[in-house]
């Protein structure tokens, strides 16, 4: 259970490990996009962790990275195919960032360093959910600021002028930076760039 909790909070991929920043900044213009990419990433990560756990010990050291990427390419291509067929609108909204998950350091590390299968799966599950949580949070904040809506529902109208910069990538960077600073403030951490 420790692995699961770690992924959610103590080692949250975006807020603590600073992984998966590209999707966190680029995709989360609406809460729905954040939720969809978060869930897809979590599922892909879970499967990748299981495959990597079974496969990686038999791969020579200098080919490990390539094999991890290949596993992710297959999974992500499959996920993209399913999404395009089921919900083309959402696939268009996520754009290149769903396929791009195959090269994300966060997913490449799925199941890394865990000896047993349950531990690897729990770790991936926690990390995936932690990632999805942050994406939804960012999506809600940015959609609210940018359009005054949350999950497409109008929350305020007229009172707050839409702040369209929140929907752009640079605006996303600033909002994510402020969120990270807030997390640092609450957890009394901060100071060094974590890597």
């Amino acid at each position: 259970m420790k692995q699961f909790g770690d992924g959610l909070f103590a080692k949250n991929p975006v807020l603590v490990l600073a992984l998966g920043l590209v999707p966190a900044v680029a995709v989360t213009t609406t809460a729905m996009n954040g939720l969809a990419l978060g869930i897809l990433a979590a599922v892909v990560m879970l499967v990748a962790a299981a495959v990597n756990w079974a496969l990686i010990p038999y791969v020579p050291e200098n080919a490990k990275l390539a094999v991890r990427v290949l596993v992710l390419i297959v999974l992500v291509t499959f996920a993209y195919g399913v999404l395009v067929q089921r919900n083309p609108g959402l696939a268009a909204g996520l754009g290149i960032f769903l396929p791009l998950l195959a090269f994300d350091e966060l997913l490449l590390r799925a199941g890394d360093g865990e000896k047993s299968l349950p531990a690897a799966l729990l770790g991936a599950c926690g990390q995936g959910l932690g990632f999805a949580l942050v994406l939804v949070l960012l999506g809600v904040v940015r959609e609210f600021l940018g359009m005054g809506t949350v999950f497409g529902k109008q929350i305020v109208s007229g009172a707050l002028a839409p702040f369209s910069l929140a929907g752009t990538v640079p605006g996303g960077m600033v909002i994510l930076g402020l969120l990270l600073a807030f997390v640092n403030l609450v957890s009394k951490r901060g100071g060094e760039l974590h890597d």
Partner: protein, 177 residues
């Protein structure tokens, strides 16, 4: 000629890969501790982008037409290009052996969605790589100044870096080419 310059201006400035498209944040946070390291990582990515776009140009007759296999194809080309680039350009990047490059693959996927073909893609890739290299070097220089600045403790490190880069990006949003 004007077309070429326009593409260069677009890829370096108004649709800069890092600042405006949000790709390559991993490199931005990891490889900008010194200008030297940033330049090395930038050159490596630039080489990868050139290799990838040339590969796409050569392989254009066999690109699958249905969406999912097409995406898989671009991802594979991206993997080959980034491995080739890391073999070709030897440079010391601290931390992990990050041989695969998210920004490079993102660029290939963007090229795949555009309607341009052939040599124009290689030129676009060159511009995008140049913009990428430029931003890494600029950010590495900015970080040296940030190290000296009196920043409140919670903002130190990644938060202030992201906010700074965001402000740089907002400045570029004003340009239209």
């Amino acid at each position: 000629m004007t077309d070429g310059l326009q593409i260069l201006a677009q890829t370096v400035i108004s649709s800069n890969l890092i600042l405006v498209q949000g790709l390559g944040l991993y490199a931005l946070t990891r490889y900008t501790k010194s200008v030297r390291e940033a330049a090395g990582a930038g050159v490596k990515t630039l080489a990868g982008m050139l290799i990838g776009s040339i590969l796409l140009w050569l392989l254009s007759p066999i690109v699958p037409s249905s969406p999912a296999p097409q995406v898989g194809f671009y991802l594979l080309v991206g993997l080959v290009a980034s491995l080739a680039a890391s073999k070709l350009v030897m440079c010391e990047t601290s931390g992990t052996d990050q041989a695969v490059d998210g920004a490079l693959v993102g660029l290939l996927l963007l090229l795949g969605r555009g309607n341009t073909v052939g040599f124009q893609n290689v030129w676009t890739a060159f511009g995008a790589g140049l913009g990428f290299l430029l931003v890494l070097v600029v950010v590495a220089t900015v970080r040296r100044r940030l190290d000296l600045a009196p920043i409140p403790k919670p903002l130190r490190g990644l938060p202030i870096l992201l906010i700074t880069v965001g402000l740089l990006g907002m400045a570029l949003l004003g340009f239209r080419f």
